[in-house]
Amino acid sequence: MSNYDKWDWDTSKKKVADLSAWKEKFPYIEELRVSHDGEKIAAIVKNEDMEFTVCIQSEGNDPETWENSYDKAWNLQFTPDDRLAALVSDAGEWKVSTDDETWENGYDFIWNMKFNSNGNIAVSAQKELLYSVVNNDTPWENEFSRLTDMVISPDGEKTAAVVESVPVLESEIFKFRQGCYSIAVNGETWDKNFMNIWNPCFSDDSNHIAVSVRTSYYDYYIAIDGETWDKSFSSVWEPRFSPSIYSVTAPVKRGGKWYLAKDGEIFWDRPYFQLWQQFYSPDGTKIAAIVAPEFGKWTMALDNNPWEIRFSEYLSDPLFSPDGNGVACLFKDKGKWGVAVDGKAWDCLFDMVWQPVFSNNGSHLAVKFKKDGFYHIALNGNIIDEKYDDLANPIFSPDNSSILVRGLQGSSYNRKVIKI
C-alpha cells in the first residue's frame, strides 16, 4: 500500500459514489472493487454495445468507463499501488490492462495475476499451447508444456513456477515416476527433476526458493534452490523462510504424525494430528502454527506450545502483531466463526469473518465480519460503526488512532475514517 501515510486520514466521511446511477447505465455489473485508500470504486461492466469494460468512480466525479472495451474482461483488482488491473481479451488475444492501458504482448490465455508489494504484476500465460510467465510485460525466454503454481518474488524481480521439464504423456506412469517436474525461475529450470513439486515460496530477500517435492510415493522432501534436505518424510506441507536468517521450516509427517522441521531436522518434537501454516514473528524469533493436538480439535501452537483452547472445525488466517507480541487467528467452532487472540476467543461469534488486521503498535485488532446478512467491523471484540451491505477490510491509520472503513450502504459507497 504505497503512500499509505499520505492518505486522507482527516475527512470523517466521504460519499464516493452512488451506484444507482451505475445501475441505470449498465445492464451488467460485476463485483465491486474498492481501492486500498478507499477513494475509488470500480467494477467490470458491460457497455451499451454489450462489450466488457471497467467503470470507475471517485468522489465528486461521474462514473466513467475505460475507453477500451473488450470481448471479455475478468479478474479486476486494485494493485497494491492502487492502479486498476484486469485481464482482457480482444479477438482471442489476452492481455493485462492497467488503468486502461494494455501490455504490448498478447497471449492465447493469461491467468493467476500476482502482485508484489510495489505493484509489479506477473501472470501465467499460454500461447500456442506452450506455457510461460510474463512479468511486467516481459515473458520468460523459455516455454514449457505445463506450468502451474506461479509466484512472484518480494522484490518483484523474479517469478517462479512449477513446470513440466521433461514432457510426459498421459499414461506414461513409469516415466512419471522417474521425475518430470522442476521449478523454473525467470524461465530457467533447476537442473533436477522431481516426481512432483508443490508450494514454491521465495525467501524475503528474493534470492532463494523453497518447495515441497516427492521423489517417490513415500519420499517427500523440502528442496531449496534445487537441493533437497537430507532426510525424507512420509509427507510434507508448505516450507517457509525465516524473515531474519537463512533458514527454512516445514511441517513434516513421520509415523502418521506431524512435526515442524527446521533445515532438515525435527524442530518441534511434539507429535500433532495436524500441523500447517507455520509463520514467523516479524523479527523471526518466534514461530507459530495451526495444529491439531488431538484428533478433530484445533488450536494455535506458539513455539511448540499449543494454546489451551480448542476449536472443533477450523482455524485460519493466523498472524503475529507487528511487534511480535500478539498472535491472532480466525476460528470456526460448531458452525460459527470467531476471532482468537493469544489463546482467548472473543465473545462474539459471526456467520463469516475476514482476515484480522493488527494496528501498527499491535494494541488493536479489527476484522470485517458478516452476521444476519449484513457486514460490520469489530474492533477488539466489539462491534463498531453501522451495518453495511458490503464492506472492504478495515485499515488502521499509521498513528493507530483511527480506522478506515470502506463500505456500501444501500446504493451509496462511503469512505469513512473512524476515531478509535
Binding site: W74, F109, T148, S171, I173, N196, W198, S235, G296, M352
Partner: protein
Amino acid sequence: MSEYKSVKEIEKDPKKNESKKIEDQGILKGLEQLTPEKIEIVINQVINDETGARLKVYVDTCVHCGMCSKGCHFFLSLNDPKFSPAGKVKQTLWEILRKKGKVSTEFIKDAATVAYTQCNLCKRCAMYCPFGLDVAYVMSVMRRICHKLGVVPLYIQDTAHSHSATMNQMWVKDDEWIDTLMWQEEEAQEAIENLRIPLDKEGADIFYSVIGPEPKFRAQLIFQAAVIMNAAHENWTMPSMPGWDNSDMCMFTGDYEMMERLKRRHFESALNLRAKRIVMGECGHAFRSVYDVGNRALAWKMPPIEVVHAIEYYNELFEQKKIKIKKKFDRPVTLHDPCNISRGRGLHEMARNIVKATCAEFIEMTPNREHNYCCSAGGGVINCGPPFKNARVESGKAKAKQLFAAKAKGAEVVIAPCHNCHGGLEDIIHHYGVDMELKFFGDIIYEILELPEL
C-alpha cells in the same frame, strides 16, 4: 453388442465367469520392480505402522460363515466364491497376515487385481455380515500396500498422477479450466441473458465444485448447473485456480498423502473465498472423499465447511420453492441409488423427493435405498480402464437384472445422480442390451426448468 434381451436370458446363460488373464501394464511392469524382500518390508510397514485393532478384529472375528456373499453384487452376478466379500479377504489380507508378509510377486499380482478391480468399496457387505465387518476397509489396506509397492492398474495410476501434478483428475491445465468456464458461461447466456459463472467471488453462499471429467467430457453439466444456480438467484461462485476438482482417485489407489493434499486444497479453496458451504455436482465418490475419508485423513472429524451433494441441494431448491418447473418430465423413470450418497450419506429419500417433484411416473428398482446394488464402476474400478472393462460389466449382471425388471414395469429412463454410476450403467445398459436412457437429475431439472423472466 448386446448380449441379453431379458432377465431370463441372463439366467440361462451357461457361461460362468472364467478368470481372465490380466494384461495391465501398471500391474505387470510394477511387479517387475519388486523383490520378495521389498514386498515383505512394505507389507510389514503398512501393517505395523498404519493399521491396528480394526484390521485385526476384522480378520479375527470373521467366522467364515458366508453371510456376506449375498451382500456383494460381484458374487450375485458371477456366483463364484472368489467374489464373496470374505473370499476377497481370503485372497488378500488373510494370506498376508498368515505369512507375515512373505508372499510372492505372483500373489501380489492377484491381490492387486482383487483389491483394485473386484471390489467397489461400496460397503454393502457390511450391512449383510452379522458382525458388520467392513471388507471395503480391508480392501483399502490391500490397495495401500499395492500403492506403496507401485503395483497399481495403469489407468487409475495415471489419474492419481494427474491429481498430483494438476490437482485434478484429468490433466486439465489451469488455463483450460478457466477457458471452459468462460465458454460454458457464454453458452448459457443463450438461455439466460447476462448469466454469470462468477469466478473467485468472495463471501458467496455457495462454492460450486465439480469433478475433473466435467470440464473435460461433460462441460454441458457445468452449463446446466449455471442455469439452475442463476434461475434460483443464488449467490454462488466457482474458483479459477486448482482446488476446483472435488474428485479423488488417490483415495482409491491408496495414495493417502496425495489424497490429503487434494482435500486440503479443495477445502481451502472454498474457505479462502469465505464461502458458506460447498455444493458439489452429481458425483458419489467425490462426495465420499470430501465428506467422509479425506477430512478424517486431515484430522477433521467432520468437514470444516458444510458439504452439500447436488441431491441435497436440488431437494432444497424444491422444498424452498427457489425454482419452478414448466411441466413434469413425462417419461417413466427409475432411480439408481449411488452407494456413496445413499449408503454413504442417506440421501436416498431426498432423491425420491426430487423425483416426485420433477417426474410424472416413478418405478422403483429393488432392492433400493441403502440396499441398492453398486453399478460395478465405483471405488475406482471403472478408472482401472479398458483392461478390466469386460470383467466389470460381467459383475454388473445383478444390476442388469434390476434394470430389466424396472424396464418390464415400464421405466424408460434411469436417473443416476453420480458420474461413476453413469459410466458403469452406460456400459451395463449397452452390454446387456437393456436399452434405457440415462440421466442426471441436473439433465431433468434443466429440461423442465422455467427460466426466470428478465
